[in-house]
């Protein structure tokens, strides 16, 4: 029989083995983020033209490791913890096959360490993408493969836990929306890891001399089947966490289960096509293939994100209005719990992800517009908006919730924690906007020296490009400090935070409306007529959110056509 701890604050059930696994995965994630953050500082201070800190070889080594530690290890360790949380904890179920879960975790740790070692030995500065025929040391690929196998085991433990929960009737009706999001993420993860295996296993064999040749274009297409899809796992995971945090901090519930789940389903069906985003200016791939795939078959996955963009803040607004914050369009937002870092992280992440990450992603993923953006520093600007602010800041916010609930420690430095999301989100936004600007002026990504020292010929970027890279550098340094503050607070709380005794009511201080009985309450049978009324099909229940959504749409349309205009000014090509 499973051994549960019931959290006195939240009423959440923690299966003991799941709890330990969540803790170790979260800690491994934090360690990865620490490494990634230190490396980020080296990268940023080198690309800041006035500082230009590192020599070229170290710069490329740092950049390779920064990409892999931040984008793969930090995020996926955290996501495995989330998968266990949304299955075992939210469904009040024991974790299926905990021994397998530990094996998966061990493989992930071994893989992460192996790949990091290979990079810091110096022979594997091949960037995260490791495009062939540039070759890394064999253990670079081997580490990634081991990590992926471990993550795959984690996904299957998650699926197994769903089966266990269903068979043991730990919940009634359908799985919660957040868990449904977890299922979506795990399904995409299986596809992603399969793509990774298809390309990384042969590449590993090539690196040890067993296979003679890997076609570089095939590598690009299949690698991005993993590389981009893995970013889609992050999107799904952080959107699920947005719903979770909206529920935890405001008591929000989905505006419509049907709409939100349908949007997740669209992700499963279409997100994987995004590998084409990286192939838009490649040889040997037809325009038809590019158009169909880059647009996720007519932008149906973008539609899904736009749906979540309405329903996540919409659900917050509805919950706030029920509490009486009904004045004007935006009282619900002004009176939101901005003091609670779990909430503020989520909301900042939502706004930046939508307004910057989402819009830039669609614009640069437009077949022809990619011509003026491909491989410029605009690209990392885009994915810092999606992954550093979207995913990372969301996960930071969730950690602030997990410290008292999962780790049972009181958070230290609460004032710093209150400001940390604003500092991180704000500085990242500066970094992003100025990298976008520099990219528009043609500054290259993954490039050690925009002065081209040592080149036979010369070329000079505009003074504006230098200024923008400098400001981006300042933004990056502040973002690293903000990331350091997050680690200081979380690690410090785990080590020195006051142990919470079982009856302490920490979350109530955030106004979290949960009680011990939440889970055990019987479902009330809601008559259909009442359900209709509750969902307010007669009117707009979240008018403020609708205004925000229209603002998003207008920004989107304007920025989209500005880029077409810009494209029309470059040399004719056919």
């Amino acid at each position: 029989m499973a051994n549960f701890r019931i959290c006195p604050d939240t009423g959440l059930y923690f299966d003991r083995s799941a709890e330990s696994l969540m803790k170790v995965n979260a800690v491994a994630a934090a360690v990865s983020l620490l490494v990634a953050g230190i490396l980020a500082l080296g990268v940023a201070l080198t690309r800041w033209p006035a500082v230009h800190l590192l020599p070229a070889d170290q710069f490329y080594m740092f950049l390779t490791a920064h990409g892999i530690d931040a984008l793969i290890f930090w995020i996926i360790f955290f996501e495995i913890a989330i998968l266990y949380f949304v299955s075992s904890t939210l469904l009040r179920s024991r974790l299926a096959a905990p021994r397998w879960a530990w094996l998966g975790f061990a493989l992930m740790v071994i893989g992460a360490v192996t790949t990091n070692v290979s990079i810091f030995q110096g022979g594997s500065s091949v960037m995260m993408t490791s495009y062939v025929p540039m070759q890394a040391a064999p253990h670079f690929y081997l580490g990634l493969i081991l990590f992926a196998v471990g993550a795959l085991i984690g996904c299957f433990v998650f699926f197994g836990t769903l089966v266990v929960a269903k068979n043991e009737h730990t919940y009634e009706g359908s799985i919660p929306l957040v868990t449904f999001g977890g299922v979506t993420a795990a399904v995409i993860a299986v596809f992603t890891i399969a793509s990774g295996a298809i390309i990384l296993v042969p590449t590993f064999l090539w690196s040890i001399g067993y296979i003679a040749h890997i076609d570089p274009e095939m590598y690009r297409i299949i690698w991005w089947g993993m590389g981009h899809s893995s970013q889609q796992i992050n999107v799904v995971a952080h959107v699920s966490v947005w719903y979770l945090v909206a529920g935890l901090t405001l008591g929000a519930r989905p505006m419509s289960e049907k709409v939100s789940r349908f949007a997740f389903l669209l992700y499963i069906l279409f997100l994987q096509l995004a590998c084409a985003h990286h192939i838009l200016v490649d040889p040997g791939v037809s325009a038809e293939w590019k158009i169909f795939n880059t647009s996720y078959a007519m932008y149906l996955a973008v539609l899904a994100s736009m749906i979540h963009g309405l329903t996540v803040p919409g659900s917050m607004e509805v919950a706030q209005r029920k509490k009486g914050y009904t004045r004007g369009m935006f009282e619900w937002l002004r009176k939101a719990p901005w003091d609670n870092p779990a909430f503020s992280s989520t909301f900042i992440s939502l706004v930046i992800f939508g307004f910057i990450g989402g819009i830039t992603g669609v614009v640069m993923g437009t077949e022809q517009i990619n011509l003026i953006i491909h491989n410029t520093i605009y690209v990392p600007a885009h994915f810092h908006a999606t992954v550093a602010v979207g995913t990372t800041l969301t996960f930071m916010g969730l950690t602030y919730f997990l410290i008292p609930v999962l780790f049972r420690r009181q958070m230290i430095l609460p004032t710093l924690a209150k400001w940390q999301p604003f500092l991180f989100g704000g500085s990242m936004t500066i970094l992003i906007l100025f990298m976008m600007g520099a990219g528009t002026l043609g500054v290259s990504r993954r490039h050690w020296d925009m002065d081209f020292a040592g080149a036979a010929l010369s070329f000079e970027y505009s003074g504006m490009a230098y200024t923008m890279m400098g400001i981006a550098g300042i933004g990056a340094v502040v973002a690293v400090i903000a990331g350091g503050a997050y680690l200081l607070i979380t690690v410090g709380s785990l080590l020195f935070g006051k142990k919470l005794d079982p009856s302490a009511g920490f979350l109530q201080s955030f106004g979290v409306p949960m009680s011990r009985g939440t889970y055990t309450a019987k479902h009330e049978v809601v008559p259909m007529a009442k359900a209709v009324e509750e969902h307010g099909s007669a009117g707009f229940e979240a008018p403020g959110t609708f205004v925000l959504a229209m603002l998003l749409l207008v920004s989107f349309v304007v920025y989209y056509f500005i880029n077409w205009k810009y494209l029309s000014s470059v040399w004719p090509l056919s």
């Binding site: 070889d57 490329y60 939210l90 495009y131 025929p133 540039m134 009634e172 919660p176 929306l177 868990t179 690009r220 719903y243 909206a246 529920g247 008591g251 929000a252 519930r253 505006m255 289960e257 049907k258 200016v281 490649d282 040889p283 037809s286 007519m298 932008y299 149906l300 539609l303 736009m306 437009t366 022809q368 011509l371 003026i372 491909h374 491989n375 410029t376 043609g442 290259s444 993954r446 490039h447 081209f452 040592g454 080149a455 036979a456 010929l457 070329f459 970027y461 939440t518 479902h523 359900a531 969902h535 099909s537 707009f540 979240a542 609708f546 959504a549 077409w564 470059v570 040399w571 056919s574």
Partner: protein, 180 residues
Amino acid sequence: MTSYLPPAQRIWWKVPVGRQEIVWISIALVWCLIMFFMMPFWHVYGKQNLSNEAYKTTPAKFGEKVQAMIDEYTVRTETDQKIPVVAPPAGSDIYMLGRLWQWWPILELEKDKTYRLHISSMDWQHGLSIQPVNINMQVVPGYEMVLNITPDVAGEYGVVCNEYCGIGHHTMLGRIYVKE
């Protein structure tokens, strides 16, 4: 009932969707379709598109073609490295190869004339980034991509490599002249 608990209505899929969501989804869908059709529209009416023309090749074969062009149309050389400056006739096939760490040769083109530009790599992947006009292409070894380009502004253009290609990546800089 919240997003992390099972849905309040067991038969949640029969609960009607609110008007707000329906309006937003409709607007968003229309916008998605507009964006989708912009791409084929631009292929028909726009001037900046990529052809589907590309060939499998080898570094040796591609190198020969580049050398043939250089032998025929070199007008002068530049720098200590004697980089040839090649001025092929308008409308002809012109070549630029990427290798560690050079774009080879320098091209001298006429404004408003169209050329068939062939690009490929001799070794690793490179990124052809024509600056400051900001046109960016992936250059992949074993593949020869053909672009019909019509430079419409005279000037001196830098060719930056914007795909990481090892320690000398930042020294990989070429040039294109566009003459009146």
